[in-house]
Structures are given as structure tokens and as C-alpha cells.
């Protein structure tokens, strides 16, 4: 659950503020891989040379087929695999490509719908200092994002793209076992929650390629069985970061984020200290992530990431409380289809706190936890 919110915060801080959701970051970063794509992918391709189609191809219509020893010296050898114009392999298509540029798409309204289902095992489900019990969790996330047309040369930004993002997430705990030691205690149902947020943000890119993001969002946490609101928050945030090309096709992202949350608690969540609901707070974070393609086809990515977050409570009763959360994750994303992806991940969280937090939260002030699981997601662009 904390992971969930931390994950959400990660989304807020890194992804939505820095161009796209974190999952989508790996998912969409194929865009940065020069397209040595999809060798041998199974899309119903015939084998080479099966030119027994009843329809006459363009190549058959006008081409003169030369065997290698008949080619003469005109351009032979020039069209090698590293020639200026490359290997021009003839194919037949069902229809021509749209010819729409990505940059043209950025000049209009566009929307993305992402639905994600994740199943994982948490080693310390109640987030207590002494190692708690393990349990499985299932998480359903839906994200809808509307991006406005990108403005060019606005103030000190080279490009600036406003966006509106809505997120809904539901988590269920202890419904099944992943490991025989996992708890399926009925009491774990009390941890189930629904989180909703809506964010109005803007992503700007400076001439030096730094990304600066500003956003204002409304969050709320619900008990979806009783329809009771547990807390809500209004969060303003600012972050800046930059991507660097590494290891050929890899992208190293670095970012710093700061956000201030005005919160109101309606009802205490089952486990204290998990959500940042104990009063208004200032959160600062340092994020580092790598998106590294593992195959020439751009389908398989490794996405290690690390972040450190500091949350300082400013009022009312928790004033002086400071939490530190370190989050390290290793994830692999496989794009089954351009719009469908499979994700496996493992992450470790280590939370430490100051004396004030320990006095307030006792056994819940500090903890460490391992999560590992699988996710399946769909991402559709319109």
C-alpha cells in the first residue's frame, strides 16, 4: 500500500511530471531506440520469397531481377548493410502508413488511456518495524490523460505541454497466496483501499533540455466497501530533471521534485504512517532511473530505478515529524504488442524516521519491505 502511494508519488513526481507515466516511460521509450525493431516477430509474416500471391506486386510489375553474378558493377556492393541508403527489402503491405508525424500529434489534443493489473507479494504487508507477515496483493490502476497542444517558445521553455490526468487505483490484500507463508487472514481486507487523483499539470522543456514540471492535484483515499472517504489532499508540486543517453540506446533519467500537500483526514487508515495523511507536509525527492533496452527489437527493457524521499510534516499534530523513504526497484518490461505490455518487478523499501515520528507512530515509524510481482498493462493512445 505504501508502495502504492509511493508508486503514485513516483508517478506524480517523475512520470506525469516528466513526460509520461513511469510504466509508459519504459513502454514508450522505444521511441528513442533507433528502429532495429522486431526481428522475427510473429505477426503472420510469410517466409521470404513466397511470391505466389495472386495479386501482382509492384516489384513484379516493373523490376528486373538480377542474380548476383548478373548484377554488373553499377551499384553492386554499395547497398551493403552499412550503405548510405541501406538494404531496401521489398514487402507488400495491406495499406500504406498514415504518414502522421509524432511532432504533428504534439500539435493537437491527444489522450492516453492506460489500464494496469498488478499482482505482487509483499514481505511486510502491515509495514511494521519488526518483520511483519507477508501477503499477496492485487492492484488495478486506470490512468486517463489528456494532453493539450504543445506550445513552442513559451517564456523560457522551448516546448510546454499542459495536461490533465485522472487516476484511479484499487488494491486488494490477502486474497490468495503466492508463497505458502503468505497470510490470507480476513483482517487484511481492512487494508483494501481505493485511491483517486486528478492532476492539472504542465511539462516544459528548456533549450538546454532540462524538463520542468508544475502541477496541482487533488487526491483522495476511500474505503470502497463503505464508500467512506479516509482523507483528501491538495498537492502542488514542482520538479525538474533531465534525460541522458547512455549505453547506446539507454536513457538515464535524473530528477528532483518538491511538493507541498494540504491534507484533511476524515477517518484513520488501518495502518498508521503509511499514507502521508497525518497533516500538511512538504515532500522532497531525488529520483534516478534507467531505461535500458535489452534486445535489438526494442521490445524488452530493463528499468532499474532508485529514489529517496523526505517528508516533513508542518501541521497540526505531526509538526516536526520527518520520514525518509528509500525505494530501489528493478523492473523488466516486455511489450507483447505496441499497446500491451508485461512487467515484472521487485523493489525494496526502507523507511526511517526521526524521534518525533517514532513517538507518534511507535512500531510503524520505521520498516523495510520487499515486493515482487508481475503486471499486465494496456496503453491506448487516441
Amino acid at each position: 500500500m505504501e508502495l502504492t502511494l509511493r508508486f503514485l508519488n513516483f508517478l506524480k513526481g517523475e512520470a506525469f511530471c516528466w513526460s509520461c507515466p513511469y510504466l509508459l516511460r519504459a513502454f514508450s521509450s522505444f521511441a528513442f531506440i533507433p528502429a532495429t525493431l522486431f526481428s522475427g516477430c510473429g505477426i503472420g509474416l510469410d517466409s521470404f520469397g513466397t511470391s505466389n500471391s495472386s495479386s501482382k506486386s509492384a516489384a513484379e510489375a516493373t523490376g528486373t531481377i538480377f542474380k548476383k553474378d548478373e548484377q554488373g558493377d553499377s551499384k553492386e556492393g554499395k547497398q551493403s548493410q552499412s550503405s548510405p541508403t541501406g538494404v531496401q527489402e521489398v514487402v507488400e503491405l495491406d495499406h500504406s502508413l498514415s504518414g502522421k508525424l509524432l511532432i504533428e500529434e504534439s500539435e493537437r489534443f491527444r489522450s492516453v488511456l492506460q489500464i494496469d493489473v498488478k499482482s505482487y507479494r509483499s514481505s511486510n504487508i502491515t509495514r511494521v518495524e519488526s518483520m511483519g507477515k507477508s501477503a499477496a496483493a492485487t492492484e488495478y490502476t486506470t490512468i486517463g490523460r489528456l494532453e493539450f497542444p504543445t506550445s513552442l517558445d513559451l517564456l523560457f521553455f522551448k516546448t510546454f505541454t499542459p495536461s490533465l490526468t485522472a487516476l484511479g487505483q484499487r488494491s486488494y490484500f490477502g486474497q490468495y497466496e503466492i508463497d505458502s507463508s503468505d497470510s490470507t487472514d480476513e483482517a487484511l481486507r481492512n487494508l483494501d483501499y481505493e485511491f483517486r487523483s486528478i492532476t492539472l499539470g504542465g511539462e516544459g522543456r528548456s533549450n538546454s533540455d532540462w524538463e520542468i514540471n508544475l502541477s496541482l492535484e487533488y487526491d483522495e483515499l476511500l474505503d470502497f466497501r463503505s464508500h467512506d472517504k479516509l482523507y483528501h489532499a491538495i498537492v502542488s508540486s514542482a520538479s525538474f530533471g533531465r534525460d541522458y543517453s547512455v549505453f547506446g540506446g539507454g536513457i538515464l533519467g535524473f530528477g528532483i521534485a518538491a511538493e507541498y500537500a494540504l491534507t484533511k483526514i476524515h477517518q484513520q487508515y488501518e495502518v498508521p504512517g503509511v499514507f502521508d495523511d497525518a497533516g500538511d507536509n512538504l515532500r522532497t525527492a531525488l529520483n534516478l532511473s534507467l531505461t535500458q533496452p535489452l534486445d535489438s527489437g526494442g521490445r524488452f527493457y530493463l528499468t532499474p530505478s532508485a529514489s529517496i524521499m523526505r517528508t516533513a510534516y508542518t501541521k497540526p499534530t505531526s509538526t516536526g515529524r520527518i520520514d525518509y523513504l528509500m525505494h530501489v526497484e528493478l523492473a523488466a518490461v516486455y511489450r507483447i504488442m505496441p499497446w500491451l505490455y508485461l512487467r515484472s518487478f521487485t523493489n525494496y523499501q526502507d523507511k526511517t524516521a526521526n524521534e518525533k515520528a517514532k513517538a507518534l507512530l511507535f512500531n510503524y515509524a520505521e520498516y523495510n519491505n520487499w515486493d515482487a510481482g508481475l503486471g499486465l498493462g494496456v496503453s491506448l493512445s487516441f
Partner: protein, 253 residues
């Protein structure tokens, strides 16, 4: 050839001053520039504009990228050309034209010429052009959509990603449409990957490659070669090792 050159000159003169002359953005290897006035060869430097009355020769290991307000051009060894703000005369070799910038829509159409053909290129996108032995030209769409027109023609011919058209010499018009495998083409074309990385171009190329994959209904063990006579072009057997193309060629980026 003279007639074509004359048309090129005429058109160029009519467009002078509309767009800035291209300047050198990147260069590597042996590149020389010869002025048509004094016939003297001179070095070409990064940041300098390419003079109008000059011809550029790309020799061994040459990599040259030019850029102006709304377009960029790439050349490699064996390319010989003259260029102005909105036009390029490609005497030999190949080039990559990138005019994805929105400003290209407001600028004059780009005039692309080979020894025996002149081609008007409108629209936003990226294409590769190569001079053929016949004196014509081969154009291959990479990104976006171009509208191509011959000087004597009224109608436009569209060129989309993965589409190849021969522009036949002596006013014989366009050849038939041939579709190319973008995955293989993009991963093996040195005009794409032997230049400093352009992240936005990489993104566009990845997009079209992904878009084409589900549309491919048939692949042939053949590749398009040169056009040595006005009405024909070569189809060469594709070595088995090129199957799946990209994996066989290390990317030098």
C-alpha cells in the same frame, strides 16, 4: 541535363531570400568545396554557410549535415551536390532530407534535382534520395508524408513512410510504387545512424517501424537496386543473413 539545370537555376533564383542558406551543422571526413567562379577548392567549416555558387564533394569517410530554418540535409561519401535555401542539386550519391519542421509548410517547396530530373517536395517528413545510373532518382519516404510533383506535372504523388518511387529521367514521370521493409531499411541506412543522434528523428523512425509491422502481408527475398535504364530497375536477391535485417549489423552510434 542542361535543360534541367536551367530549370533548377530559374526556380532557385525566384526563391532567393525566402529561407536562409544552409549552414554546416556537422562534418567529418574528407569534404571539399569548389566555387564555380574561381574553380578553387576550399575547406568547409562547421557553422559556415555553403556558398550558392559552389559544388560540394564528399570524399572518403565523409559525413556532412547541413541545416537552415526548416530543413536539414545529410550526405555521405560519393555525394556531390550544390545547394541553396530551398533546393538541392544532387549530382551523385544520396542524401537524407529532413523537413519535419512546421516552418517547412510556410516555406517554398523544396526542389530536389538529379542530373536528369527535378522534383518538387511539399509537406512535412523525412526522405532519402539517391541518384541513379539512368540519371533519374530514387526517393524513399521515411517519416511524414510528402507530396511530390514533377515540373511538367499538375498532379501530386504522395510519398509515405516505407514507400519507394523512382523518378524516371527525361520527363517520363514516376515509376510504380514499391513498399520497403522499414525495419531493415532504417537499421542499415548509414544516412540515418552514422550521424549524431537526433532523438526526435529516432522517435519518428521507431514510430513508423512499429506502425508498419502489422501491415506487412508479405516479404520477399529481394531488395531494390539501381535503375540503370529509364524504365527498369534492379531487384537483387537478398542474402539469407539479412533476414530479420537489423540484428546482423552492429550499430556504430
Amino acid at each position: 541535363m542542361l535543360a534541367v539545370s536551367g530549370l533548377h537555376e530559374k526556380n532557385l533564383q525566384g526563391q532567393e531570400g525566402v529561407t536562409s542558406s544552409p549552414s554546416v551543422q556537422f562534418l567529418q571526413g574528407r569534404i571539399t568545396l569548389r566555387s564555380s567562379e574561381d574553380r578553387l577548392s576550399q575547406a568547409i567549416r562547421k557553422g559556415s554557410a555553403v556558398p550558392d555558387q559552389s559544388r560540394v564533394f564528399c570524399r572518403d569517410g565523409a559525413r556532412l549535415a547541413l541545416r537552415n530554418d526548416c530543413r536539414s540535409l545529410r550526405f555521405m561519401e560519393d555525394a556531390t551536390f550544390s545547394t541553396r535555401a530551398d533546393s538541392l542539386f544532387l549530382w551523385s550519391g544520396a542524401c537524407l532530407l529532413d523537413q519535419r519542421d512546421k516552418k517547412a509548410l510556410r516555406a517554398n517547396p523544396f526542389l530536389l534535382s538529379a542530373p536528369e530530373v527535378v522534383l518538387e517536395c511539399r509537406g512535412r517528413g523525412t526522405l532519402i534520395a539517391e541518384v541513379q545510373t539512368s540519371g533519374g532518382m530514387k526517393v524513399i519516404g521515411l517519416t511524414g508524408a510528402f507530396k511530390l510533383r514533377l515540373p511538367e506535372g499538375e498532379e501530386f504523388t504522395e510519398l509515405r513512410p516505407g514507400e519507394l518511387r523512382f523518378v524516371k529521367p527525361y520527363g517520363r514521370g514516376f515509376g510504380d510504387l514499391v513498399h520497403l521493409n522499414l525495419e531493415t531499411l532504417i537499421s542499415t541506412a548509414a544516412l540515418i545512424h552514422e550521424f549524431p543522434r537526433d532523438v526526435s528523428l529516432d522517435a519518428e523512425l521507431a514510430k513508423v517501424t512499429l506502425e508498419q509491422i502489422p501491415l506487412v502481408s508479405k516479404r520477399y527475398r529481394a531488395r531494390v537496386g539501381d535503375s540503370r535504364t529509364p524504365e527498369t530497375f534492379e531487384l537483387q536477391p537478398l542474402p539469407v543473413r539479412t533476414r530479420g535485417g537489423p540484428g546482423t549489423s552492429p550499430r556504430p552510434r
